[in-house]
Subunit: 210 residues, 2 copies
């Protein structure tokens, strides 16, 4: 089987979300057009994307919703829950810990690290805040697979280096810096200012063209 294109990977969680909704509406089967309309794309794209995962549909019929949910979940590695840590427990880190959407989707936040002595040792939502000094040991102890990096920008790279050295291969980076990590480590940047600036670009274009 060929490698799955990056853009296809980005759409798989969207398809999964749509399929779960279809299942909740008691649709046993969905075709590529129906899924495309829910996901905001087109039928050919859906078929091509799903074809990278195998021959999952039935010609003349479409895709079995439950079977496709199971298959995509498997591809996304969602069969077991994943152990997640928050590094940097400021305002944003606190919000993320409180967000129920993660555990609902199998992402369990089981460790929190911060440098502030006033926070260390306190417990929030059943999770104890650890010292950043215990980062390496704590990540190993808790068998962390994914780190949510929410430190201030000026220490993000240094903390990321330690996280990577501790063996973590997946980082969701909320700090407004581009992280430099070795091959094999996946970083997804989340930067709302970047998103707003992209929207602003389009607004500027519109008013200019009109």
């Amino acid at each position: 089987m060929d490698r799955v294109p990056e853009q296809t990977i980005n759409r798989l969680p969207i398809y999964l979300r749509c399929l779960v909704q279809a299942a909740s509406l008691n649709m046993p089967v969905i075709n590529s057009l129906g899924l495309a309309q829910m996901a905001g794309t087109n039928a050919a794209q859906v078929r091509k994307d799903l074809s990278y995962l195998g021959e999952l549909g039935t010609r003349g019929i479409g895709y079995d919703v439950e079977a496709l949910i199971a298959h995509i979940s498997g591809e996304l590695g969602l069969t077991a829950s994943r152990r997640v840590a928050i590094v940097g427990f400021g305002r944003l880190g606190g919000s993320l810990l409180g967000y129920s959407g993660f555990s609902e989707r199998g992402f369990d936040i089981v460790a929190v690290f911060d440098a502030d002595p006033a926070k260390i040792g306190t417990s929030v939502g059943g999770v104890r805040v650890r010292s950043i000094d215990e980062l390496e040991s704590g990540l190993a102890e808790e068998a962390i697979e994914i780190v949510l990096l929410t430190t201030p920008a000026d220490v993000a790279q240094a903390v990321a280096d330690r996280v990577v050295a501790a063996g973590v291969c997946a980082i969701l980076n909320f700090a407004p810096v581009t992280l430099d990590v070795p091959d094999g480590v996946k970083v997804r940047p989340v930067d709302l200012s970047v998103e707003l600036q992209v929207l602003s670009f389009h607004l500027a274009r519109m008013t200019q063209e009109a």
Copy 2:
């Protein structure tokens, strides 16, 4: 001049951030390789991207940092601050209102809407929470250009329809649904569960291949 490719637009805010940092380090000039290293890309990409904006560099030298900041800021429409509204004032909406990074970059949150009578009329951070019933009039009154959509998923499409009908052309969508909007309206989805699932895919691939 040719249209700027979408992927280039996505990188412009990154370049801008790197340039601002370079300026803070008192670098008067930066070359494509230096900017590429800061931005996590390569020199050819930087030159190609910037070439869509015009001939901004000096051969043999590089790019004047301040001039390039000014130019990219202009392209991104950041010369004046932009008026932003939060629609859906739950936990997430509250966090976003409290985030200082927006106003620092010229995005001013000047209106907040919610459906909960307990919240309507209260003031947070100098902004009064308005009833969702006043959505259309409020968006017009405050001359809102960008909406941060943070409603529950099940009403997100309906609210988005009203936001679009009120003339807003840019939406940052935090609801875990794919919004259907007319041509000319730009939506940027922000879904942390999707991001985590993409990371999970790569983790699954790694363990499988190893």
